[in-house]
Symmetry: D2
């Protein structure tokens, strides 16, 4: 049942694992060791006919180390958009390497993948003192950037600085890059352990319970929803507040923020088509809600409504397609609908918290999760695992093979799963998800189950 | 020195002031009474040649009451956009009327001026129980709306409900309406005391130290600025964060938020023209700041830059001119400038907290101020003052004649005053204010002096 | 593998399950139904020799209903101390009963178990309107109290109000009472479904991933720790900040708050003995930390140190043993130790946030969890389950038999588990847990694994 | 009308003021200069018979400078307990000296007055880079301590480091020390400008509208009061929440926190005697409030009730008298009173936020105030003023002679003033202030007037 793809221990022969002893660590004696044979069952929902097959290697400190801490040089890089908790991960990687394993040199690569080769961005030497207080700030101490992946520059950096452990924090694209680095290192017989740590504000990396920072982002979105509710309640007549939240193709932020707030009357996500009028229309639903309670609150993911508005041809600097302006579109349509069907017009207020939900510091739950991720990433790499990622699966820390993680990422919300049903139950909006086709395999509905 | 315009006591003859006694109040014996002859000096800055002339009547409980609480019916209305503290004012008006004076009936007019005559918006009976917890919520318990002023409907409402005290919470436009109601009541010999309470998120009502809710809004803007700073610091290369804040013609929110944050490198307001390039240009200044510290933060008031972008002809539903999109314009210009003058592009992030700064509950300082405003509004009306407003002047509560208040409102920031100099000192941006013309009378720089 | 003890469906014969149809619900068509045969594996950690045995019935809406919503009367009661999220649970129980199932009558029992019979506490009729905004406030809309369980009064209440669904929110003691009510109802052939919802600020109810409100409490504790850190850093010489947190016999709040903060140098819990001096002493450890970084931060659970201070004989009004004053004791001992071993004295600041960590509103994550708990509690009772509780197990919602839940509750932290090792890794304090005895069965280390 | 005691310009003869020019400053041209002849009227309340006499020199940049920035060395020291905004003041002093005046060397004295001579506490060199982000943290970047004033060590420090500008941030005791340093420097003909900046969490420094950090502390106290309210409302029967707040001899924090919250039913301060029972007793008042609304909230200043509990003989390490435990005392008395006079006991919850109200970062209003204080402190010293302090007087920045400031500091709340009347009006508690004696001069009621 052991997932063999995780561990790449081929090179342990010529750089043999060392006995773990207090003298290697920074004075801490770690007693609770995890065996390579322990795993965590992934498919824990069982019913008539289920056959449990998937399981992941359990994360944690191992008895034998692949690397000698005294000759270990680690590097950390953060890629892509900001996410609450990046600094917690950087700090705990540094502290774990330094204090638990006695690694003396940790480098922080600046500005994402481009930092491997951009001559103006010298790496930062990371020590416990340097990172002592960074976890109280949002953002990333190292800086980040989108794209910029370049194999040659990266390998040159690793060689120049004698890096043999690389920690890459980023989304599915970043993980694909990390896996290529791992493969290249293997091909070149470089003894480099490569570990990814999934970072996505959209929570769209598959197989894990949730990505770090997601809980903080959902929390931060609450004040925007509260704003929309207050504006809607207090601006007469027919107050309607619209909040746009992040989520280009996955609506997790929107649905979780809506469910957490308890104040949302309509939630629109990319996974479920928007129907404006008619029996299942969202506009008549809004009017009903306004008549019942005097106002209504809408949460819409930025990527919703492509089926209505058409896909834009334009792309922005990062190569992302420009999204149709669903928020403004809705505002206009609501205005028109009330203009036609109501004696008095709608008073629509539009709120876009944008980066405010992702630039905040990690909340307590995410801080703790980041600590777990960082510690287990180091445990894994020190033990000789490479080409892997870490994450919570069924509330347990596991090691995940990057290819498996990338295969189904980015994930989207299952329009026929329990999460969406919960949204419907609290908003009481009409369900416009296309009926499940016969034989259609359910998508993986990851978080609420 | 007494400002006679404040007090309209003509009708005290036929409805004579009553002795204040514990039996009239709700059990509280108020010992500290303020005489009508006490006033607060308004022009307290003195120098060679100054001649102090202006002073306002000091607010506070008076010995003689014009109204008999047992036959008093009060009405409260909130007009215009939301502002932190509206519920505190409503609650404290209700409590003061009820507990301090023993007034039995207080009506809440729903939805602003339109609530006087809109048949669907029945007034709410306000009791201490009904308003017990509303101060913890943003918005207004009564609802609000823009415009809607109509004399006949208003008078009819006052007559129908036998209202003899009217408390009107709103900006300079609302105050003009309130004064007309007062004049109409005087003309019709209706014994109605009319009091305005200045409410403006832009802090543009003149003569007062600050308007309630302004401190909370400036506080709420901090997290948007912090977002912009985090995004700018962490997104390489050349990160620049832009925050747009409220302020159509007055930049007080923008300048106060910028000064409070301590993190702003460029602050643009309607009162000072924007110069893009050249020696005094804001774009070269931004590039300098980016070179010095790696990033820069911009705060821009929504009404800034009209001289650059031209005045829009379009108006929105409330009759406000549509503002040029200064935020997007700046984003584009910064991109172009860095494209031309820098090896690497700028990474610009734009944040618009919009209603999030005005829908929050009042902070502690505003809560206390609202309590003072409401208590002194009631003290003034009970004593027979009418056609007046209340506010802090030189940190003391005073009664202000509405015409005087309206004459110079909405006010704007003095581009040659100390506030703007303070902004320049912390942002170190070039000063693009036109030099003061000879003989030009300084505008009134209201808050920081 | 089905855990048969959960379902008490004996009485389904004479009150037969009804087909679920849209007409029964409040208009929502719930498509995703869960079969009684679906379960969630509890023991998901597998290794050589493991044999998975435990599993719980999966929570969720069922096809057949045991109760006819039109004749259902539900009652909700909250018992014991406050906890973030109580109002979310009350609100969502009400909404789910009303909107999803069409139940017309929901009663809120006031003031805990005593509310069943205290003549002065009439139950509150709970409607969606009545509970519309309660989730934004901490505390419980119904009021609560400790103890007060009385079988006769409870049964009389159920009979008088024709209650056939009872939702009891409380800790392990409250659950024991709930199970007795269930047994009494069965014995009396009363068709009453009884469901518990685990509530414990200490997170000491066993078998579930975490209890609702725990995440919010850990979050709320952060500002107390931050206070202690600021005071310790800034008050020279030898600043030490001590924070006391809740936890009479389980240190979960203390350890999670410490791990989340990343700022704690010493964490003391009831599960691990306190050693003051000597090689493993916490006082020399603190002095080391002060010498390294200039200050130190201590988090101590209120129940820690009984082995040092002795067990108090006194009990408080609720029958809880009075705890020794561990905070003051530590303050004194630290003062003495620095007095002896340091040239300059220690500056010790003591912070006790007490109820501030439990009276706050639920954060976003807890709000969502409360929604899941409430919905699944209703789904379970409507389907005919009784004598059960609900909770997250391995990140999935399950139904749990109350006797099994109570058997090992209140749980404590495993002093030999991964959670405690994580605390040691971040505080770097000496491990004073007694070594695991041979053959000693590990306690269940519930959350971080 | 000019207050001559402020300016000590005797030594301007031998170190003549220099023309202010752009080349001296850091590039900023400061246009708005304040003349030494401008002043701010302090006694602005006028009535029959008032004669305005007091006025203070208006703060602000002067045309002529006493010091040559290129040879200026400034030192900053923070003394006494923490207060929100200390870091803002340190940062803005540094930035103003550096950027506005071009001063090259600024030293931060560590750990309060003791830092002048404690050999282990080397001063910190303060640059704009070093202080760039400190304003987002509570506490003081320099560290602080109580007491420790020593003239010789201080003078030696000033001489050794060639300091000619000293900025001392602290309370009235600290100001007394600062004035002695100023006198000693004058006596020794040392050309040292000494400026105090009033810092007191209790707001007990006289003559100024408010001290910095006070607004943040009052804000921070709100969540403790909210906790007490929630606990009181939700814990049946007869829930009563008690909050203890700072204030050894002045109750400003308590009264402002109570007024801001709007939720307090009884407020007890050192300035007004506590009466337990009888007609004016606070216990019968509490019982009335509990009967009216089901619960009650009490705020008590730590120094209240000395007349009841007796003055303690004990002193703590700082020489402060140990305060009687008024919080616990009240809890006990309330318990006894309800035991005797109520069918059901009281459920009393006691909350002591202690340092949590003073260790937080400054809020927006205080941040701005700190900026004004720091800028004007530097303006004053650069212009040759010494032995002075700065502050807001009637909402204007003024320079205050330290002896005048110290003469009536620490101030206390006027038990016959408007602030206390406002407290009575919202709590509706009986007034137990001793009646004003005939001819008794009113104490100065500083903030709400």
């Amino acid at each position: 049942m052991r997932n063999n793809e995780v561990a790449y221990t081929e090179y342990t022969a010529d750089s043999p694992g060392r006995e773990r002893s207090p003298s290697q660590g920074g004075g801490s004696d770690y007693n609770k060791l995890i065996s390579d044979r322990e795993c965590i069952i992934a498919d824990i929902r069982q019913g008539p006919g289920s056959r449990s097959t998937r399981a992941y290697v359990r994360a944690g400190p191992r008895e034998h180390l692949h690397f000698d801490p005294s000759s270990t040089v680690a590097a950390i890089v953060t890629c892509g958009g900001l996410c609450p908790g990046l600094n917690n991960v950087i700090r705990e990687l540094t502290n774990t390497l330094h204090y638990l394993y006695g690694v003396k040199k940790v480098l922080g690569v600046r500005g994402g993948y481009a930092g491997f080769y951009n001559p103006e961005w010298e790496p930062i030497v990371l020590t416990p003192e340097a990172v002592a207080n960074i976890h109280h700030d949002g953002g990333t101490f190292l800086g980040s950037s989108r794209g910029g992946f370049q194999m040659d520059g990266t390998i040159a950096f690793l060689e120049k600085h004698k890096v043999n452990q690389l920690f890459v924090i980023g989304g599915d694209g970043t993980h694909r890059g990390a896996f290529k680095i791992h493969e290249e290192c293997m091909a070149r017989k470089m003894n480099v352990g490569v570990c990814g740590i999934p970072k996505t504000i959209d929570n769209d990396v598959d197989h894990i319970d949730r990505s770090f920072g997601f809980s903080s982002a959902v929390q931060a979105a609450q004040s925007a929803i509260r704003t929309a509710k207050t504006e809607a309640m207090c601006n007469l007549p027919n107050g309607i507040g619209i909040v746009k939240l992040m989520g280009r193709s996955a609506g997790f932020v929107a649905v979780h923020a809506a469910m957490s707030s308890g104040d949302v009357d309509l939630c629109l996500v990319p996974e479920v088509p928007i129907v404006l009028g008619g029996e299942k229309g969202c506009l008549p639903h809004l009017m009903r809600r306004v008549r019942e309670q005097g106002y209504a609150v809408v949460v819409v993911a930025e990527g919703a409504g492509e089926e209505l508005l058409g896909e834009s041809e334009e792309v922005d600097a990062s190569g992302n397609k420009k999204l149709p302006k669903i928020g403004e579109f809705l505002k206009e349509k609501i205005g028109e609908y009330f203009g036609k069907h109501s004696k008095e017009p709608a008073t629509v207020k539009y709120v876009d918290p944008s980066y405010m939900i992702r630039s905040c510091p990690a909340n307590a739950a995410d801080s703790l999760y980041c600590m777990q991720l960082a510690q287990n990433a180091v445990h894994g790499v020190m033990a000789g695992y490479t080409g892997f990622s870490v994450g919570l699966c069924n509330n347990r820390m596991v090691l995940l093979p990057i290819p498996e993680l990338c295969e189904t990422s980015p994930r989207t919300m299952d329009a026929h799963g329990r999460t969406w049903e919960r949204v419907l139950s609290i908003t009481r909006q009409p369900n416009t998800a296309a009926p499940k086709k016969k034989g259609e395999k359910a998508k993986y509905a990851p978080m609420l189950r």
